[in-house]
């Protein structure tokens, strides 16, 4: 897990969730593509990286000289507030201390939700938690390094959304719990665990009809897309509900 955003309040803010954006005091700064990729890469790493590694990762098919030249160009095109967001030495590059990154905060939230002991203790994550955990990392970026990080974030946020749904449900906040579970379902419509989380919320709320409707919807989707049925585990989850709703 990289840095958290605590120490940099008031400085430049980089958003990676839902797309790249850099904000300083004023409106979002429009950056050339190479500079965006540089800042995004440094934000994902969250530590100092050797220039040579940065260049080789961001411009993998270029020669070493060409990649270094592209890196210098990307740095040179960081103007104003954008320039102050990078800490550069002769050997390394990283984000300066005052920079905050939305992904760092979202990752910290996810890890808190998933920590078995800390998760129960830390305060209510608030209404911003669901949108933060629902956002994809750098959608439509196809660089290898971005795809790997994007998948890593997807896995983390799915588990966190399910944990959040269970937590909110146990507190009787069924509407928010269902919203968290639905966000996970939307991210992975064919995966069973988000669907189970949503069904558990409906059951906890005392709404067996909706739980069974969700189970049926999922079963139909699985059959249509994959030609398979839900697992025994999911069937057991709803097995005692059938008599309740039958006339």
């Amino acid at each position: 897990m990289g840095r958290t955003s605590g120490q940099g309040e008031g400085g430049p803010r980089i958003s990676l969730l839902g797309g790249f954006q850099l904000e300083t005091d004023g409106p979002a700064i429009i950056l050339p593509e190479g500079s965006q990729r540089l800042l995004a890469f440094l934000a994902l790493k969250g530590r100092l990286i050797q220039r040579q590694t940065v260049a080789g990762t961001l411009w993998p098919v270029a020669t070493e000289d060409r990649a270094s030249s592209s890196l210098r160009s990307a740095l040179a095109r960081l103007q104003g507030g954008a320039r102050s967001s990078v800490e550069a030495t002769a050997r390394d590059l990283g984000l300066s201390e005052q920079v905050t990154v939305d992904l760092w905060d979202a990752r910290a939230l996810a890890h808190k939700l998933l920590a078995p002991t800390e998760g129960a203790r830390f305060p209510d994550p608030g209404p911003e938690a669901i949108p933060a955990l629902s956002s994809e990392l750098l959608p439509d970026w196809y660089d290898d390094w971005a795809l790997v990080e994007s998948e890593d974030w997807r896995q983390l946020r799915l588990h966190a959304l399910e944990a959040l749904a269970d937590r909110l449900s146990s507190q009787g906040q069924y509407g928010d719990a269902a919203a968290a579970a639905l966000a996970a379902v939307r991210a992975e419509p064919l995966r069973e665990s988000p669907r189970a989380a949503l069904i558990r919320v409906h059951i906890a709320e005392g709404n067996p009809t909706e739980a069974l409707r969700e189970f049926t919807r999922y079963g139909e989707l699985l059959m249509l897309e994959l030609g398979v049925e839900p697992t025994e585990r999911l069937r057991v989850l709803v097995s005692e509900l059938w008599p309740v709703t039958q006339p």
Binding site: E33, G34, Q36, R37, W59, V61, S70, L138, D140, W141, Y142, D143, A146, L147, E151, L190, R191, E192, E225, L226, G227, V228, E229, T231, E232, R233
Partner: protein, 73 residues
């Protein structure tokens, strides 16, 4: 997001649904050109279907001076 276009991309995400009669889930996503984004997605419980999608993708890249559009089953 690449500066140089003309790069095709195929990704496979695979996971297991423990307890299913057919536990494998393989999601294959294909971009003929990353500048245009992913165009096709296949999700299957059958490893052979994923392998076949990879084979078709590689054939299309190898043969496509004229950029063949790949349509997954």
């Amino acid at each position: 997001m690449q500066e140089a276009t003309g790069v095709a991309l195929l990704t496979i995400r695979a996971w297991c649904e423990d307890g299913s009669d057919h536990p494998l889930r393989a999601e294959v996503k294909i971009a003929d050109d990353v500048a245009s984004g992913f165009k096709s997605t296949l999700i299957s419980v059958n490893a052979e279907a994923a392998v076949e999608a990879v084979r078709e993708f590689l054939d299309s890249v190898r043969c496509s001076s004229s950029r063949t559009q790949i349509v997954l089953p």
